[in-house]
């Protein structure tokens, strides 16, 4: 991202419906680097700003596979190679007894991958972010909806973008200092 003192142009909306419509139109108008902020998840908003590549499920799948393999192979190695003990005449590789721990390890690794994978893909934790410079943005966690066009967007132009956002019903349109 190029270093500009201005991070983007932000507009405020007072309903989820208006935000989704505006995000849709902004994306259709050719703006690619945009983002929307809402106090709760809105179905279809991510698609409206052109975000489709969600890699969380892949991360979880990989985490789960690693967890399951770790669990099973650990038990196999311990029970047959490192510490073979004859328990009630059972074979060293008594796989039915290993299922429970394998299952639990799968869940553990997959669950932690879901949480930490989601946070990492989202770039969180991030205590400072330019959007927090907008005073009205504190309502984004209450009842207001925001749309931003980043200044790194090739179509970004302070005057035209401002007018475009206002034409979409955006209020309090302002530049976001970086």
């Amino acid at each position: 991202m190029k270093h500009t003192p201005i991070y983007g142009m932000m507009a405020e909306f007072d309903s989820a419906q208006r935000l989704v419509d505006a995000a849709h139109h902004t994306h259709q108008a050719g703006y690619q680097k945009i983002d929307a902020y809402s106090p709760f998840p809105i179905e279809g908003l991510a698609e409206a700003i052109g975000f489709t590549k969600n890699r969380v499920p892949l991360v979880v799948l990989i985490g789960g596979l690693i967890g399951g393999l770790t669990g099973y192979l650990m038990q196999y190695w311990i029970a047959t190679v490192s510490y073979p003990v004859n328990v009630g005449g059972k074979p060293y590789h008594s796989w039915p007894s290993f299922i429970v721990v394998t299952f639990e390890m799968t869940i553990l690794f997959a669950g932690l991958s879901a949480v930490f994978g989601m946070l990492a893909l989202n770039g969180l934790p991030m205590p400072y972010h330019p959007v927090f410079n907008v005073p009205r943005f504190s309502s984004a966690t209450k009842d207001r909806f925001f749309l931003i066009v980043f200044s790194s967007d090739p179509k970004y132009d302070a005057e035209q973008t401002r007018r475009f956002l206002e034409s979409q019903g955006g209020r309090f349109v302002s530049e976001v200092p970086s």
């Binding site: 991510a46 038990q75 639990e104 869940i107 989601m118």
Partner: protein, 453 residues
């Protein structure tokens, strides 16, 4: 039928709320509401009980498990009874937050947060018992597989080792599930708070959440996947706990009905605890608009259903005791009905099977007082169930020369009541410093949250 219509009419959230008022109502409990005397007294009592527990555990560490009532043949006394009881109570939280999410039961949105917190605290209380029961608690980490100079590893064919993995996975996943659910609400508190320190602390915990559409999208995927993972997990935990018993060849333990009947019993007692917490909380914090009659009714119905599964488990146990033709199994049944602890078995039948049938009556299902009392009875009943399973089965096994009796000592009682205090103290702190209802999920329930493509 008319009952169904009534529950459909009773709303999940009373009309007239907006995004702003829902947010203010829930966050103000934490941010602006002054700490009431009732809270201080309640927390004080719970805190004193926690101290009593620490005292009992401290004395245990000095003297050893001989201060408890456990003897041979009853080597598993209160510690295991309480462990199973607490871990069972925890199950309702995950059921509400994960299984009901997958089933699209949106009424869960107003009770999932504190039910999850309840799970976390109940699992913490449960975790105390195996650790202090091992005899040499400073070596409790030997339960985990780690490379060591003794060249020793755990024995993975033992259900007790499975239990270590099941419970620790359950505690970890419950914790992250709960925390991830909190993040957007912590951001709300960060932005609503006037206090500088509160802003910093909530802000750090909120991880810089800003509600970006990309973030929400990944967040929802991760949350849904976690729910999908937690669903088999919660069913597996009490299954594995029941394996601790069912794999052992003790009459009264060695039965295949145990896994489903333990899971049903866990959810049964868990919902009873949810109601015992929800009813006073909605009263004292004026949250009747968010935790409505519908929630109480639905929880009562879940209790009724799981209670009947538990009753089926009792019937099958008794039937198999007779039908198996095994004299030891038959004697276990006889001993429950006529032995020295028979009184507790009849109490168990009354608490878990007979009294909860009152929930068929709609008037009682919608009455908070009646539900509170019935839930208390169920919690007692479920504790007695574990007592019967653990103590009465061990008390008279194969050789009558080795029969014995179990009498809990005051240290047993102090530890048990102390964990209830610890649980309540944690709940008191939780309702004071964190939003007890998920604010962002409540927003999605409002009509204005609906968006047409």
């Amino acid at each position: 039928m008319s009952d169904e219509q009534l529950s459909d009419r009773a709303p999940v959230i009373e009309p007239g709320y907006t995004f702003g008022t829902v947010t203010d109502k829930i966050s103000s409990i934490v941010l602006t509401r002054p700490t009431s005397n009732g809270w201080l007294v309640g927390f004080g009592i719970a805190f004193l009980l926690t101290m009593m527990m620490l005292y009992a555990i401290g004395y245990l560490f000095i003297k050893g498990v001989g201060i408890w009532g456990i003897t041979i043949p009853i080597g598993w006394g209160f510690a295991i009874v309480n462990f199973v009881w607490w871990i069972g109570i925890g199950h309702a939280g995950t059921l509400i937050s994960a299984i009901l999410l997958l089933l699209r039961q949106s009424w869960r949105n107003s009770i999932n947060r504190f039910a999850e917190a309840m799970t976390l605290f109940a699992v913490s209380c449960a975790g105390v018992f195996p650790l202090i029961h091992v005899g040499r608690p400073w070596l409790a980490y030997w339960l985990f597989p780690y490379p060591n100079t003794m060249n020793y590893w755990p024995q993975f064919r033992s259900p007790l080792v499975w239990d270590v993995f099941a419970v620790s996975t359950y505690a970890t996943i419950s914790l992250v599930f709960w925390f991830i659910g909190l993040v957007p609400d912590l951001a709300t508190l960060r932005d609503r708070s006037d206090n500088r320190w509160a802003k910093i602390i909530y802000g750090m915990l909120a991880l810089g959440w800003r509600g970006s559409a990309r973030h929400w999208h990944r967040y929802e995927t991760a949350y849904l996947l976690l729910a999908g993972l937690a669903t088999p997990l919660v069913l597996s935990v009490h299954t594995v706990v029941s394996f601790d018993f069912a794999v052992g060849i003790v009459p009264g333990w060695h039965t295949t009905i145990f896994p489903p009947y333990f899971v049903a019993g866990a959810i049964y007692s868990g919902f009873a605890m949810v109601l015992m917490l929800a009813i006073p909380i909605r009263k004292f914090y004026g949250l009747e608009d968010f935790i409505t009659e519908r929630h109480l009714q639905n929880s009562a119905k879940v209790m009724l259903a799981t209670g009947l599964i538990v009753a089926y488990g009792y019937i099958i146990e008794a039937f198999m005791g007779w039908y198996s033709g095994n004299r030891y199994d038959a004697f276990t049944l006889w001993n429950r009905l006529h032995g020295p602890y028979a009184f507790f078995y009849y109490m168990l039948l009354a608490c878990n099977i007979v009294i909860p049938q009152l929930l068929w009556i709609r008037k009682l299902r919608t009455s908070p007082v009646a539900l509170f009392l019935i839930s208390g009875v169920i919690l007692v009943g479920m504790w007695l169930e574990r007592f019967i399973i653990v103590v009465v089965s061990l008390q008279r096994d194969f050789l009558n020369s080795s029969w014995g009796m179990y009498y809990p000592t005051r240290w047993d009682w102090m530890t048990y009541i102390g964990t209830i205090g610890m649980f309540l103290a944690a709940m008191f702190l939780f309702v004071r410093i964190l939003p007890m209802i998920s604010i962002f999920e409540m927003r999605t329930l409002l009509p204005e949250a609906e968006v047409k493509e």
